[in-house]
Symmetry: C2
Subunit: 259 residues, 2 copies
Amino acid sequence: MTKIISIINQKGGVGKTTSTINLGHALASSGQKILVIDLDPQGNASTGLGIDRGKREKTIYEFLVSRNDDPNSFISKTKTENLDIICANEDLSGFETEVADESKRAFFLRDVLDQIKEKNQYNHILIDCPPSLSLLTIMALVASDTVIIPLQTEFFALEGVSQLIKTIERVKENLNKNLSIQGVILTMYDRRNKLSSQVEQEARKYFGSKVYKTVIPRNVRISEAPSHGMPVIVYDKNSSGSIAYQELSNEILNGSYAA
Amino acid sequence: MTKIISIINQKGGVGKTTSTINLGHALASSGQKILVIDLDPQGNASTGLGIDRGKREKTIYEFLVSRNDDPNSFISKTKTENLDIICANEDLSGFETEVADESKRAFFLRDVLDQIKEKNQYNHILIDCPPSLSLLTIMALVASDTVIIPLQTEFFALEGVSQLIKTIERVKENLNKNLSIQGVILTMYDRRNKLSSQVEQEARKYFGSKVYKTVIPRNVRISEAPSHGMPVIVYDKNSSGSIAYQELSNEILNGSYAA
Ligand SMILES: Nc1ncnc2c1ncn2[C@@H]1O[C@H](COP(=O)(O)OP(=O)(O)OP(=O)(O)O)[C@@H](O)[C@H]1O
Ligand SMILES: Nc1ncnc2c1ncn2[C@@H]1O[C@H](COP(=O)(O)OP(=O)(O)OP(=O)(O)O)[C@@H](O)[C@H]1O
Ligand SMILES: [Mg+2]
Ligand SMILES: [Mg+2]
């Protein structure tokens, strides 16, 4: 049974794309079949998984607009076995305005992903969301079974959490009653900075056991990896960032059977 | 003559809010009268300038919706002399959908800020934009004389630059022919990370002399300051972050007379 997970937080730069790429790679390396959906017009997830800008002909934008073509024609292989992607590019930035009049627009992504879900080719589909709570993110929530929230351990990142939860609740009530929060990842954790442990305490108070035990440290190798078009686990397997994402993947796999 | 500047970059977490708050404070400390417009539904600029969530009755959202009330009723004082703000809260996140049918919506912010510009109470108005290129950001570009682009010295941050420039050009051609790029701020610069100097080289190649000489270092005191509701210059005046924003303010003031 394919599970669809949105990686979401409207606060910018908190590690959504980094978590999608590296969690995707770690899950795929343990034998899971993974499909990443790049739903951000910036196309960072596509770049971080090594898909050249010039090679993104059939992207998620074309899939959402056509909605009837063969889903496999939109899927690209990455250099990681068991990890595929549907890319994004700038075309996606016009989508929200283009479909503003369509009453069923919130369901467009669910409808196209249902075609893939039925084939049961993947264990997980991970959707990398843009930093906003507008239509693209709402579409991802409508299409998802669960969400994972990367939470940067900095002060501004805590501010937006209540708005994010309200939006998830609203989608759950009106558009997708099965939606739930699978987990919260603490990212860019810096042991030398007392702010990190303060944010961690707040997060564990607010979300309880939904906060993963594995914490992702701030690690410069993580920010270097995308310029080589590869996940940090490939770029520098023994870095603290790689080890953390592999541990997180194990925690999620063990948890998801229990869930 | 009041100059209106948008602080803009659709890439998330690059230092837009941090630059608005700290540049605003530094300019105000040198005698300039500054008005900050918080145009992000997250309301981080309002929080970083010490305005409690519970004290944001008349925000930019109400101003944009009413468009006729006395502009001064929307302006709040901050703890910094010469630095005022029009706050934001979550209400703003519904605005784009609410006005989707209004043909003149791109001009709403320009129209309300014109009322303030005419009174000539301020030397600069700084608009803190959300991490997207949707209506709120387009409105800011239409209302602005110039833009300042915070550019995080990391790989993903370079990716979105061409899309940002295209959007600025499009607004300049169709909606605001006076719009220009005033400058680019290199943020979160880490001398130990070769990526920072690589991004700096790329940025200076792309933008030439528009890249400010002053570079903002990664400095933990900058990320601690917002939890105390104050600019880093107030929180820790001798930190590397404070010194950099004061130098940047001097560079901008000296440059703007020359411009
Ligand atoms: N744990 C980490 N340590 C160091 N750098 C990190 C870490 N996680 C992410 N980064 C870097 O921080 C920046 C922001 O991360 P990323 O782009 O993944 O965030 P995002 O939430 O997807 O951003 P956006 O809101 O723009 O989509 C990137 O340059 C990334 O390489
Ligand atoms: N030079 C710096 N050194 C260290 N931390 C910084 C620096 N500049 C910003 N930060 C921190 O990085 C995070 C992102 O910065 P900020 O919120 O200003 O970016 P933004 O572009 O406004 O984000 P968004 O896209 O969500 O609006 C914040 O937690 C902030 O405190
Ligand atoms: Mg991203
Ligand atoms: Mg901001």
